[in-house]
Subunit: 220 residues, 2 copies
DNA sequence: TCAATTTCGAACTGTTTGGTACGGTAATAG
DNA sequence: CTATTACCGTACCAAACAGTTCGAAATTGA
């Protein structure tokens, strides 16, 4: 281990800041935001109460830092899951599989901090952050769809925007079911089926009794 | 107003039990479970603190009653939205539209008690109730799909089970986005697109570069 | 009018919680 | 070896909280 940073003057810390933040994430993840007390964080993070206030600030500040760090890490992982595969279906399925796997990881609480916990936090900054994060996820998927069009894997009129947000909706639905205790096995199967669904070619209408469909705008 | 029940002996109550329960639902809905205090309920329900304990019990009991009443009412409404239309597409779209509309109702908090609040409550009975409720919703949609097969609106090999749980996943995704502040207009458009998606005929695979798809079991 | 019964409002009690002050401890600098 | 710096653990305080007690108020029955 390289020690390229000179030690600060006084007594060294008894904890690693980022590691403690990771533990805070777990605490919030399992108990929700309002459900955790400072003592929960003290116990879970392995940081004494005064140090906690001195280094991180109050509960809200800790949550915001934990949320940002978690989103950054998870965003990178999902992007990798999405972009590492060659084929489009494997990309989408890999994305959804990763979502399911991380939502059913043993040792962590079920679900996802971003999907199951953060939306309930009554805080403007959290909401703003969340909206950006989900928009980013949808944009990522949409870009992958566009690449799929370029590669000829899907037709040029594939509704990339709509399907991208449907992928996100479906992944959120899978995550919520994970939180509610649905097994990884079932969710992995459903992830595959979801990937199949969102890759279906645009319907030219089927069946004899097509019924009256309301005309409406189509988005790009 | 008919007075067919004889008045009980003592001082009459200053509140209606079911109305108060409805207000409790709103309180939990907007603040989450852990976020509400007894004083919040006292203020929101218009019931004095001792009466609240005497009539309803503690916070957990109030939440369980509110949850059951809410689920019953919402279950009936969604079933009606699903079954009132003749055509299958209108049924599914009506279902999703109703979900979006009730999740973006003005005057209530955004989202849904069942989707956004209840899953975070760390209580075995709540979890059990939720699992049953979502299974019931999926079963309802699945039955509608079966009727669609009987009516010849969709092919006989339509994957009713998978598509039903996808409808539920998508509706949960829409609800979560409502909670995060997405506008009703956008969500209504996405509800229509979701209805289109889940009614697409099963893919016989498309495009020239079909890629390597893992073989896997197919459910009924 | 008076007793019995039920609810309501205010106040009370023990506990939990958020946040801080204080002395002890472990490291570096000279 | 001493001074300085920064962190750690304990203990403390005020505010918030859950749950209860108690007397007043409202209604029925006699």
């Amino acid at each position: 281990m390289i020690q390229n940073t000179i030690r600060p003057r006084g007594r060294p810390r008894g904890f690693d800041e980022l590691e403690a933040l990771g533990k805070a994430t777990q605490v919030f993840w399992s108990k929700g935001y309002d459900g955790v007390t400072i003592d929960d964080l003290v116990a879970g993070m392995g940081v004494g109460r005064p140090s906690l206030y001195a280094v991180f600030g109050d509960k809200r500040a800790i949550f915001l830092r934990a949320l940002r760090a978690y989103a950054e890490k998870k965003g990178a992982s999902t992007a990798e899951a999405l972009l590492s595969s060659q084929g489009l279906r494997d990309s989408i399925a890999g994305f959804l599989r990763y979502i399911v796997e991380s939502a059913t990881e043993e040792g962590s609480a079920a679900g996802c901090l971003l999907v199951c916990v953060a939306p309930l936090v009554d805080d403007a900054e959290v909401r703003r952050f969340l909206k950006n994060a989900t928009a980013g996820a949808a944009a990522l998927v949409e870009r992958r769809f566009r690449d799929g069009i370029s590669a000829g894997e899907i037709p040029a009129d594939f509704p990339v925007g709509a399907r991208a947000s449907q992928v996100v909706d479906l992944s959120n639905g899978l995550t919520m079911r994970a939180r509610m205790g649905t097994s990884r096995k079932v969710l992995l199967r459903d992830a595959e089926e979801a990937a199949d669904l969102v890759l279906l070619p645009r319907g030219t209408n089927h069946g004899p009794s097509g019924g009256a469909r309301k005309a409406r705008a189509v988005r790009g």
